[in-house]
Amino acid sequence: MSGFLRLESLVKRFDGTEAVDRVTLQLERGELLALLGPSGSGKTTTLRLLAGFETPDEGRVIVDGEDVTRVAPVARRFGMVFQHYALFPHLDVRENIAFGLESLGVHGAELGRRVDRALALVDLAGFGARRIAQLSGGQQQRIALARALAPEPRVLLLDEPLSNLDPALRERTRREIRELIHRVGITTVLVTHEQDEAFELGDRVAVMRDGRLEQVGTPDELYGAPANAFVGGFVGSSSTAEVRVLGPSERGVRIALDAIEWDVDLPPGGARLPAGPALLLVRPEALRLTPPDPLAVPATIVSRRFVGPSAVYAARTDGGAVLEVIAPPQAVPAGARVGLMPSRRAGGGIHLFPLDGR
C-alpha cells in the first residue's frame, strides 16, 4: 500500500457497537479528503482516532511510513482545528499561535518570526495583541487555522470548520480555506455533514454511514455514479421510488413505475439489475413534466420551491411515490394533474439499486 496517510481497517467500539467499522483510507501527500456523513455516522470518531484522542480497537494509522496508532496526541504532530476553535481565551492571539511552537522548543526571535508568518498566512498580520474575545467568528476561525499550522504539522485535521460561521461568511471562508490548504500543501482530513462543503473543499470525498465507508471518490464520481441509494440520496438532491425492472432495452433498461413503462439509460458502470423490484433514484433534472399522457406516469403537483431561475416541483404519483422534477417557475400550479417522463437528456441522472440494498 502506498499513500502518505493511511487508515488501515480501523475499528472503534463504544459499549459494544461499532462507531467506526473497518474504515480504510489513504491520502497522498498534500491531498484534501472530506469525510461526509450525517451525525452519528462515525466521521468525528474517525477524526478523533486520527488525532489520537481515541485509540482504535483494531487497525492502524500510518503516516509517512510510521505507525502512529498508539502515539499520544502530544507526540503525533497532527494539527487540528476544532469545531468551536478551542482558542485559549486567557491568552492573546500571539500567545495562542506561539503555544504549539513553544512545545517544539522554538523561542526568541525565531518564535516571533514564525508567529508573524502564521498570522500573515491567514491574512491577519497585526492582530497578534488582540484578545480572543475581541475577534469575530471568522477571525477566530482563521486564528485557529494559523495556530494549527504554525508548528508545521504532518497532517491537518478540520472538525466541521465552517459550522460556526453564518451562511454568508461560509462560502467565502470555504474558498479561502481551500486556497490556503493547497498553498501550504498539507495533507488534510476534513469532517463535515454539509455536502456543499465536502464537495467544494475535498479533492476526494468519503461518504460514511453507521461507522462504515459507503463510497470514496472525487465529487464527480460520487455524483455521477453513486454506489448505492444512500450515497445518491446524500449527495445532490434526488427522490426515490419503488419500481420493477422488466429487462434490458435498446437504450438501457426497461422499468415500470405505477404500471407505466419507461425506457431509461443508465450511467456507464452502473450495475445491471436482474428483472424484479428495484429502487429508482432520480435527480430532479432527469425528469420532465408533461400534460397527462398515456405514456407518462400520472401524478399531482404537491408543492413547489424556487431554485435559482427554475423551480423544483414535488409530484405525487397515483401510486403514492413523491418525485421531484425541475421545470420553469410558472409551469403548473399546485394541485394540477400532470404526467412524469424521463427527460430526453436524462444522462446520468437516473440510477437503479437493489431494493434490499441500503
Partner: protein, 555 residues
C-alpha cells in the same frame, strides 16, 4: 474505551484517600456503637431507645428543622419576589444588604443576638425601660430563641436561590401565558411556581440540613432544650462515648433520610434551566405613597438585618465590667482590640485559626481540584464515586464528623489505617478539610465542567504535555472557580465552632472557642472583638474572592 476506562493509579490513590477520610471514620462509629471491648452488643442501642430524653432530642431536631424551613421560606420568598419583580428606590443596594447574614459565622451570629435580644441586650433593655417593666420582656432561651437565629441566618438560602431563579425566568413565558388568557394567579401557579420548584426544593433542603446540623444556637440558647447535636456533645462530655456514637448514628440516619426524601431537588439544578431570553422586566413602582412606604419598609428591614453586625461592633468597644444594666454602654475603649494583638494568650487563637484554616483550605482545594479533574471526565472509571465521596460530608452534620474523626484517630493501629491524631495539632485541620470538601469541590467541579474539553485536546495537538497543559491552560482558566472554592473553604474553617469544640486542644484553640471562654468570663468586649474579626475577615475573603476570581480569565 478500554484505555480510558482503566482506573489510573492517581485516581485510585484519590479514591482510597477519600474513602479513608470520608467514609471510614463513619463506618468505625457505626461499628463501635454496637461493639465494645467485650464484643458485639446492643446495650448502647437499647440504652438510647429506652431514654425519653434521646427521643425528645431527636424529635426536637426534626421539628426545629422543619420549622426553620417554614420560617426561612416565609421571609426569604417574599423578599426574593419583592427585589426581583419591583424596581424599588435603592433596590440594588438593599438587595445586596439583604444577603448580609451570610457573612456572620454561626457562633458570631448567636453572639450578636445575645447582645441584642438577650436578657441584658439592647432591645430587651430598651423595651424594659420604655414600658417600665420590672423584668426583661422575654428570655432568649429554648426553641423560640433557636428558631429566631435560624430564621435570621437561613432565609438567605431561600432569598438568593429564589431570586436567581426568578431572574432566570424567561420573560416571554409570562407574556405567552398572558396572551393565552391566563390571569396573574393562574400564571403564578402554572408557570412561575413550576419554574421555581427546583430553587424552592434546593433552598428547603439546604435550610433543613443546615438547621439539623446547627450547633451554635442550640448550644448557647438551648438551656434544657436539647437537639441531637447538643445532646451528642453533652453525652460525650459525660464520658458515655458509645452512647454518643449511637446518637451520632441516629442523627446521621435522620440526615440521610431527609436527603433521600428531597432527592431530585438540588440547589444545583435551580441555577440551571431555561436561561434563554431576557428575564422579566422589573415593574417600577409609580405611586408616590407606595414608593415611600416600600422604601421605608425596605430600609427598616435592612436596619433590622444590620443590627446584629452593628451591635457586635459597638460591644467590641466596651471595657470589661463597665456595662451592666444601662441600655447603652457607658464607656468605650479600643483596649479589646489591642489585647487581641498584644496579649500572647489572646493572639494565639487568632494565629491558630489563621494557620488551621489556611492549611485546611490549601488541602481541600488540592483534593477538590484533583477530584474534579477526574470526576469531570465522565467516562473515567470511578468518577461518579469520587464525586459522591466529595459531596458526602455535606449530608452529614458536623457533630457527626467530629465524633467520627475523634473515634477513628484516637487509636494507634496503622495496619487498620488509624493513627493517633486526637490531641495533636493535626486533628483540627483534618476535620476542617473533610467538612470543606463538599463546598470546595462543588465550586471547582462547576468550573471544570464549564471548561471546553477541546481546550485540553487543542493543547495536546499543539504538543503540550499534561503538566504544561495544567499550568498554562487549565489552572489559569479555573482561577475563578479555585478562588471561589478556596474562599468558601477558608471562611467556613476560620469560623468553625461545631467540630472545634470537640477536637481542639489548648494549643490549637481557635477563635470560636476563645469567644466562648471570654463569654463565660463575662468579657463581652473581647468576645465581640473576636466576633468582629471573624466577621470582617469572612466578608473580606468573600469580597476578594468575588473580585479577584470574577475578573478576567474567562472569555
Amino acid at each position: 474505551m478500554s484505555a480510558s476506562l482503566r482506573l489510573r493509579p492517581s485516581s485510585l490513590l484519590l479514591l482510597a484517600g477519600l474513602l479513608w477520610l470520608v467514609v471510614y471514620p463513619i463506618v468505625l462509629v457505626l461499628v463501635e456503637g454496637v461493639h465494645d471491648p467485650a464484643g458485639w452488643t446492643l446495650r448502647y442501642v437499647r440504652l438510647f431507645l429506652d431514654r425519653p430524653t434521646e427521643w425528645d432530642a431527636l424529635w426536637n431536631s426534626l421539628w426545629i428543622s422543619l420549622a426553620s424551613v417554614a420560617l426561612a421560606a416565609l421571609i426569604g420568598i417574599p423578599l426574593a419576589f419583592l427585589f426581583a419583580r419591583y424596581d424599588l428606590p435603592g433596590g440594588r443596594l438593599l438587595g445586596g444588604l439583604v444577603a448580609l447574614p451570610a457573612v456572620l459565622p454561626p457562633l458570631v451570629g448567636v453572639l450578636a443576638f445575645l447582645f441584642l435580644y438577650g436578657e441584658t441586650g439592647f432591645v430587651s433593655l430598651l423595651i424594659q425601660r420604655v414600658f417600665r417593666l420590672s423584668d426583661p420582656p422575654w428570655r432568649l432561651q429554648g426553641a423560640g430563641a433557636i428558631l429566631l437565629v435560624h430564621a435570621y441566618s437561613m432565609y438567605v438560602y431561600f432569598y438568593l436561590l429564589v431570586r436567581a431563579s426568578l431572574q432566570s425566568l424567561d420573560g416571554s413565558l409570562l407574556e405567552a401565558a398572558a396572551s393565552l388568557g391566563a390571569g396573574r394567579v393562574r400564571t403564578l401557579i402554572r408557570v412561575v411556581l413550576p419554574h421555581l420548584a427546583p430553587a424552592l426544593g434546593g433552598a428547603a433542603l439546604l435550610t433543613f440540613m443546615t438547621s439539623l446540623a446547627s450547633f451554635s444556637a442550640p448550644y448557647i440558647f438551648g438551656g434544657g432544650f436539647r437537639v441531637m447535636p447538643t445532646q451528642i456533645v453533652a453525652t460525650r462530655l459525660n464520658g458515655d462515648d458509645r452512647l454518643a456514637m449511637v446518637e451520632t448514628i441516629a442523627l446521621t440516619v435522620l440526615a440521610l433520610a431527609a436527603l433521600w426524601l428531597f432527592r431530585g431537588s438540588r440547589a444545583r439544578d435551580a441555577a440551571a434551566g431555561g436561561r434563554k431570553g431576557a428575564g422579566p422586566a422589573r415593574v417600577p413602582v409609580r405611586h408616590r405613597g407606595a414608593r415611600l412606604a416600600l422604601a421605608l419598609a425596605g430600609w427598616t428591614l435592612a436596619g433590622i438585618l444590620l443590627l446584629p453586625h452593628l451591635t457586635l461592633l459597638l460591644v467590641s468597644f466596651v471595657p470589661l465590667g463597665t456595662w451592666t444594666t444601662e441600655p447603652l454602654p457607658p464607656a468605650y475603649t479600643a483596649r479589646n482590640y489591642l489585647t487581641l494583638v498584644q496579649d500572647p494568650v489572646r493572639v494565639r487563637p487568632l494565629v491558630n485559626s489563621l494557620w488551621l484554616a489556611t492549611v485546611a483550605t490549601a488541602a481541600a482545594v488540592a483534593i477538590a481540584l484533583a477530584g474534579a479533574l477526574v470526576a469531570a471526565r465522565r467516562r473515567a472509571a470511578g468518577s461518579g464515586l469520587i464525586e459522591a465521596l466529595l459531596a458526602l460530608p455535606w449530608a452529614v452534620p458536623g457533630t457527626v464528623f467530629a465524633i467520627a474523626l475523634a473515634t477513628a484517630f484516637s487509636v494507634h493501629a496503622p495496619w487498620a489505617g488509624r493513627v493517633i491524631l486526637v490531641g495533636t495539632v493535626w486533628i483540627l485541620p483534618l476535620a476542617y478539610l473533610v467538612r470543606n470538601l463538599p463546598l470546595t469541590s462543588r465550586a471547582i467541579l462547576a468550573g471544570v465542567r464549564a471548561l471546553d474539553p477541546s481546550l485540553d485536546e487543542a493543547a495536546a495537538t499543539l504538543g503540550a504535555g499534561r503538566g504544561r497543559t495544567l499550568r498554562r491552560i487549565t489552572l489559569p482558566l479555573l482561577r475563578p472557580a479555585l478562588v471561589a472554592g478556596a474562599s468558601l473553604a477558608f471562611v467556613t474553617a476560620f469560623g468553625d465552632f461545631v467540630t472545634s469544640i470537640m477536637l481542639y486542644t489548648y494549643d490549637t484553640r481557635p477563635i470560636s472557642l476563645e469567644i466562648l471562654s471570654s463569654l463565660r468570663q463575662s468579657d463581652v468586649g473581647v468576645a465581640a472583638a473576636y466576633g468582629v474579626v471573624l466577621m470582617v475577615v469572612s466578608a473580606a475573603v468573600f469580597a476578594v474572592g468575588a473580585g479577584w476570581g470574577g475578573g478576567g480569565g474567562t472569555g
